[in-house]
């Protein structure tokens, strides 16, 4: 079987590649793509931990159960990623309309 470590290493690698994209790309849309990569890495972690630690735990009706926490939070990350992508891209389009550029370095002043 593929051990948990393998999934965690893949997720860590994906996270760091996303981190590099956020820090080293000029285009704001490319930065957003890096953020999506980081969110996916976190999601892999969630689902991998769910699979290895609590896969078949049935939910009982007494108190907060953590049986499905991994998958549930992965689903919430999907929701957050979608919301963030929509608002972020709307922002980028609005900025482009005003400044005629999406290079992140040129959008760094609040004046003019």
């Amino acid at each position: 079987m593929v051990p948990l470590t393998a999934y965690l290493i893949v997720a860590a690698l994906l996270f760091c590649i996303g981190l590099y994209a956020v820090m080293a790309r000029r285009n704001a849309v490319a930065i957003l793509m890096g953020i999506e990569l980081m969110l996916n890495a976190v999601n892999i972690n969630f689902v991998a931990f769910w699979r290895f630690l609590t896969p078949g735990t049935q939910a009982t009706a007494s108190g907060l159960q953590v049986g499905m926490a991994g998958q549930t939070f992965a689903a919430f990350v999907f929701v957050i990623a979608a919301a963030e992508a929509a608002v972020g891209l709307a922002l980028i389009i609005a900025v482009y309309r005003n400044r005629r550029t999406v290079v992140a370095e040129d959008i760094d002043t609040m004046k003019y």
């Binding site: 965690l8 893949v10 860590a12 790309r25 849309v29 990569l37 499905m68 549930t72």
Partner: protein
């Protein structure tokens, strides 16, 4: 033993898709190609979810990320480009970015490998978990978990409110001033 090989084979292929696609996203000069490599990477992540016995999340991954978010990104690329084929070069601080990413990866993998082997006193109690079979229908459990008031019903409702706020915000932000 044979099943092991098949599992490792699929895991290897999917990891190559994920990591290779991600590397292509951050290094390619053409931003439209970067969006397409993002699709490849996200598809690989969806495949990993299938390996991890979460088929519902895999379908949602393809549907939401590839079918909606990437299309949104491509629309934004098309609406904000100055010239066709403008080449993307890394910005001035890319060595620092590379160093930071590399250091982060080293720290993370150090922590992962140390903790899984249980060698240091800090992680002595943690053992590599044994893979148990998935006994119940995870789809039904997920559905119950999302609406059970003892579980995650409140975050579920909050997430829907967040989505609505994001929708309204995106429409207001991207509207033409008239």
């Amino acid at each position: 033993m044979q099943v092991d090989v098949v599992q490792w084979l699929f895991f290897g292929m999917l990891s190559v898709l994920v990591i290779g696609g991600a590397l292509a996203v951050v290094t390619t000069r053409n931003i439209f190609h970067a969006a397409l490599w993002l699709i490849v990477s996200l598809f690989g992540v969806g495949g990993l979810y299938v390996l991890l016995a979460a088929p519902f999340l895999a379908a949602i991954q393809v549907l939401v990320y590839i079918g909606a978010i990437v299309i949104l990104i491509i629309f934004a690329i098309m609406l904000t480009r100055r010239l066709m084929g403008l080449r993307e070069v890394p910005n001035n601080q890319w060595p620092f970015g590379l160093a930071a990413a590399a250091i982060t990866f080293l720290v993370l993998s150090f922590g992962i490998i140390l903790s899984s082997s249980g060698s240091t006193p800090l992680f002595a109690s943690f053992r590599e978990p044994v893979l148990a079979a998935v006994t119940s229908d995870s789809l039904r459990d997920l559905g119950v978990a999302l609406v059970d008031p003892n579980q995650y019903a409140l975050p579920f409702i909050l997430a829907s409110v967040l989505l609505e706020a994001a929708m309204v915000g995106a429409i207001v932000l991207a509207r033409e001033e008239n």
